[in-house]
Amino acid sequence: MELVDQTEPIVETPARPTSHPIETRGMSVHYGSFRAVKDITLFCQERKITALIGPSGCGKSTVLRCFNRLNDLIPTARVDGEVLYHGENIYRDGVDPVEVRRRIGMVFQKPNPFPKSIRENVAWGARINGYRGDLGELVEDALTQAALWAEVKDKLDESGLTLSGGQQQRLCIARAIAIKPEILLMDEPTSALDPLATLRIEELLQDLKEKYTIIIVTHNMQQAARASDFTAFLNMDLDRAGFLVEFGSTEEIFTRPRQKATEDYITGRFG
């Protein structure tokens, strides 16, 4: 098989570009005068898991944080190009970033439950968003979806901080789910967990994708291979800006990548 070595990224062009819940077109991000990522065109399929992989500093997390405007919180950050949520640019004037983040939730690298009860951790977001339904039901449903209910149902009033690392991360997933988002962003969600807790989160993702579109940043290539449906490989250019090298089905990326740079990275022959 011939591997190509080219500067233009290989991206499977979608048949109907706007049918994807979220995509970027020619997106670049600057922090002050430093260009962190450049010209990212990427689309994520509905109810599938898309993994972003690549070496440290290639801008995976920067790309992820653009999907729900978390980069807005960094004063020097500037996003060019488009980030389309169902075809609508979320960086357009007049779009409320809080509403964007309600629909597109985030789970972080380190489990970060509030110093509150397990119940409050899950119910809090829904309550401040004016949820009018049965909060008890909502808590049970979110914890069940996060595969945590059986372990905590008898201690809902205990602090979320009493749980193990893996349980805390599933609590954070329950908290994200409770405000009924459509898309879940996960920034290295298992890097602080032991291998078994990691496998449990990966299995949980397979269940969650029945309801949610998931985008995950991971340093762990085996995790991308095991857990995702699509994989985007980002690399760092000579000017240190991250760019998209190849994007395709995870099966294809891990069995017959088309770009030599992807092959070198995933086989460990990378600089």
Partner: protein
């Protein structure tokens, strides 16, 4: 949803998605094994009765095995690339790869016998050789079943039956040469008998392949790969 839901205990298998896929691959191999065994039986029947219609049916069945071989190969690559199997999972994946290749070859041997049936159509036959081939067919089919049964039951004792089952098959194959030489006075009969030596050889190979499957099952169960006997290939 994982079985943590409502059960009050953590899930027993955190990689059940992978394990389900591996089990499905194993099931598809069991289906191929059944087809291969059927083909061997049909091929022996065809060659010993001179039934060329049945021989064509064997050749047609091989397409099924070839299709599954391709699909199983692709699924195997997918699983290894994506799931990084370890320990007994890794050994099982190794067994499945061997099984896929071995069963495909068994199918090919049955096809060889079927083709020889068509080649010798109309030639005179030796009943003694026909009887020997029938006996070989009767010996080899239970070997395939035993090897597969050992896999299904994860039964090390059953795998150890295979070398003894293989011995009479090897003996019949070795004796075949003498029977063929005995046909030397008649050119037409000798032509038929020479082809039958190839049939004998094919059946002997299928026996060895069944022993190979048994060795693989033993490897799966013990983590150690040993040849069961050194009579793997006949002269």
């Amino acid at each position: 949803m994982t079985d943590a839901k409502g059960s009050g205990s953590p899930p027993k298998d955190v990689r059940h998605h992978f394990h389900d896929q591996m089990a499905a691959l194993e099931r598809s191999m069991l289906g191929v094994a059944e087809t291969a065994e059927t083909m061997v039986g049909m091929a022996v029947e065809a060659v010993t009765t001179g039934n060329v219609v049945l021989a064509d049916q064997v050749i047609a069945l091989d397409a099924q095995i070839d299709n599954t071989y391709q699909a199983a190969h692709d699924q195997w690559i997918r699983l290894v690339a994506r799931q990084s199997p370890v320990a007994s999972d890794l050994r099982m994946m190794s067994v499945l790869l061997h099984l896929n290749i071995t069963l495909e070859r068994m199918g090919d041997q049955a096809v060889n016998i079927a083709k020889l049936t068509k080649v010798v159509d109309g030639l005179p036959r030796s009943e003694k050789i026909v009887e020997a081939l029938r006996e070989m067919g009767d010996l080899v089919r239970p070997m395939i079943r035993t090897a597969i049964h050992a896999l299904v039951r994860r039964d090390i004792d059953e795998t150890r039956l295979l070398p003894a089952m293989d011995e009479p098959l090897d003996r019949l194959n070795r004796n075949m040469y003498r029977e063929v030489v005995a046909c030397g006075a008649d050119d037409k009969l000798l032509e038929w008998a020479t082809r039958m030596m190839m049939v004998s050889r094919a059946l002997e190979r299928i026996g060895d392949q069944s022993v190979d499957i048994g060795e693989q099952v033993a490897y799966l169960l013990t983590g150690e790969l040993h040849e069961f006997n050194d009579t793997g290939s006949a002269p």
